[in-house]
């Protein structure tokens, strides 16, 4: 028998004592399309290899060929759990580049929408941590209110998940009466559901034991990786873009930044639950501020920038300038001034940044999304090394790794 008929095993595979496990790319525990190649010794993780790129859609490259207003549809699909924040962040970036000043009411409307999105994002994250620890009920308690928030989006813009909400300069329409009504209902009824979720998980012995001390990262390591958002705050660093570089009139609001101490799964969970309460208080403040506007100011929903904001349909049909602006905007013929801007917003997960370079053309020369999830996933390897497989799954959900944001 010749030599080549024998099956050749990879070198060192016979003496190997560890198991290789592919967690992902499609696995119920990963909550998205990304892969971890884990080296297991029993149930303990010896080595983890994080793989990204399964849902890469080349958004940054596509954006180079699009007029600015069409890029909003791409930002929807970054962190799809809180797409309005992405939309507003993009509008803020363009406004910063074009030098547009938005009225206060627009800012407050944006704050309401962004905080609602933050609540839904944190809701998903906190309740999914519960699900991964084996407590499915809490997830169902709060999903009803996530649905209510999605209905509010529906009333504002017409879509639920990929919202494409607002435009450069404001919103395309004013909020409808039904949207305000549903928002009031949300503010009234939601705290009860949130308390129920907290009663289930916070100070629950099983949940506490499962999350305490697992998936921990030190503040120094987190800063070195470039962590932001709740995951950094859980380590004890009080960095929040809303406070350190206020955008959209966040300086008008009173709120606290919850911080943790150890940066483990439990702290991340607690920081997110507390942030939901803070977001609720911000929405209430913004709602009161909006109600205090009187007269013509109470109907403002966009900045007065005819060069960049689509005119009303009646004006297009009757006024010469409006018609010209309308077609110029739609055809993407408005030249962008050559500039380089970076605008960051506090996304559901952390600092969501837009780095936009224009060379004076009609579409961006280069656009980069600073996606927090991508950064968290780089640290995943280090965080889970030495922990149990079941803890690695909780770590994944408590870091709130969302595949759409990981690969732009």
């Amino acid at each position: 028998m010749s030599d080549h008929n024998h099956i050749k095993l990879p070198e060192g595979s016979i003496g190997k004592t560890t198991t290789t496990l592919n967690l992902g790319p499609t696995h119920p525990a990963t909550h998205g399309v990304f892969q971890n190649i884990l080296e297991l010794d029993g149930e303990r993780i010896v080595k983890a290899e994080a793989t990204v790129g399964y849902i890469h859609r080349a958004f940054e490259k596509i954006a180079e060929r699009r007029p600015l207003y069409q890029i909003t549809t791409l930002t929807d699909r970054l962190n799809y759990c809180s797409s309005p924040i992405n939309n507003m962040g993009w509008h803020l970036t363009v406004e910063k580049m074009l030098g547009i000043k938005t009225p206060k009411r627009v800012d407050y409307l944006r704050v309401i929408v962004m905080e609602l999105a933050r609540i839904t994002d944190h809701l998903i994250c906190t309740s999914i941590v519960g699900v991964d620890a084996g407590a499915f009920t809490g997830f169902l308690y709060v999903m009803q209110y996530r649905e209510l928030v999605y209905e509010i989006y529906e009333e504002i813009c017409g879509a639920r998940l990929t919202t494409n909400m607002g435009r450069v300069g404001g919103f395309e329409r004013n909020f409808s009466a039904a949207a305000w009504e549903k928002l009031e209902r949300f503010l009234k009824e939601y705290p009860k559901a949130q308390k129920e979720l907290e009663a289930l998980l916070v100070r629950n012995r099983i949940f506490y034991e499962r999350t305490r001390g697992t998936g921990a990262i030190s503040a120094e390591r987190a800063l070195n990786y470039g962590f932001t958002g709740p995951n950094l705050r859980a380590t004890g660093v009080d960095y929040d873009v809303r406070v350190h570089e206020p955008y959209s009139s966040y300086e008008d609001f009173e709120f606290q930044i919850p911080v943790g101490t150890t940066g483990d799964n439990h702290d991340r969970f607690i920081v997110r639950t507390e942030e939901i309460w803070q977001s609720l208080s911000i929405i209430e403040q913004a709602y009161r501020k909006i109600q205090s506007f009187k007269g013509a100011e109470a109907e403002v929903y966009h900045a007065d920038v005819p060069e960049y904001y689509l005119p009303a349909k009646e004006d297009v049909y009757t006024k010469m300038e409006a018609l010209i602006w309308h077609f110029k905007i739609v055809m993407g013929e408005t030249d962008i001034p050559p500039a380089e801007v970076y605008q960051a917003v506090e996304g559901g997960n952390g600092e969501l940044g837009y780095y936009l370079i224009s060379d004076g053309g009609r579409s961006p020369y280069r656009l980069h999304f600073r996606r927090p999830c991508f950064i968290y996933y780089q640290a995943y390897e280090e965080i889970v090394k030495g922990s149990m497989l079941s803890d690695a799954v909780i770590t994944m959900s408590s870091l709130n790794l969302i595949a759409g944001e990981m690969d732009a």
């Binding site: 069409q70 529906e154 813009c157 993407g332």
Partner: protein, 158 residues
């Protein structure tokens, strides 16, 4: 002694059963507060939000007239190439050649319902419909021609 315990246990069991069934009983008497929707049985009464973006449709009057001038603003505004406006030249009563829409092709399978085409239309010819049941057995059925056959441009729109 034995009997009292026996009956108190029965009372306790009934009490805990009622406690457990409290929400069920509540919803039994409060029909309007039930969250679960009996879709698809409630199709007739289903109310979608006014601004819901289901699919692009072209509005037609009773005289089979639409408002589309064939300016292709929607085609330019669409990020995905969902809309193709095929135009033709029509000779009007004065003998002048005029551009008009021949076929307004809408590819539903590519559409992301982003509303940009509706915003771009200067004459309000297209709108978003509140339909959402788009599944079909054959993909070719998703390619739709939105202007109805023999429809004309509405008087006064140009």
């Amino acid at each position: 002694m034995f009997l009292t315990r026996y009956f108190s246990e029965i009372a306790e069991a009934v009490g805990s059963l009622l406690k457990g069934m409290r929400m069920t009983g509540y919803y039994f008497t409060h029909h309007k507060e039930i969250i679960t929707q009996q879709y698809p049985d409630n199709r007739a009464t289903l109310v979608l939000p006014e601004r819901f973006r289901g699919e692009v449709v072209m509005t037609h009057t009773e005289n089979n007239e639409h408002r589309c001038t064939g300016c292709t603003a929607c085609e330019l505004a669409c990020p995905n190439g969902t809309i193709k406006v095929v135009t033709k030249f029509e000779v009007n009563a004065e003998g002048k050649k005029k551009k008009a829409v021949d076929k307004f092709v809408y590819l539903l399978e590519l559409c992301t319902m982003c509303n940009l085409c509706i915003e771009a239309c200067p004459t309000d010819a297209i709108r978003m419909a509140q339909t959402f049941e788009h599944s079909v057995y054959d993909r070719s059925q998703l390619t739709r021609i939105l202007n109805k056959p023999d429809s004309k441009l509405q008087e006064g729109v140009e």
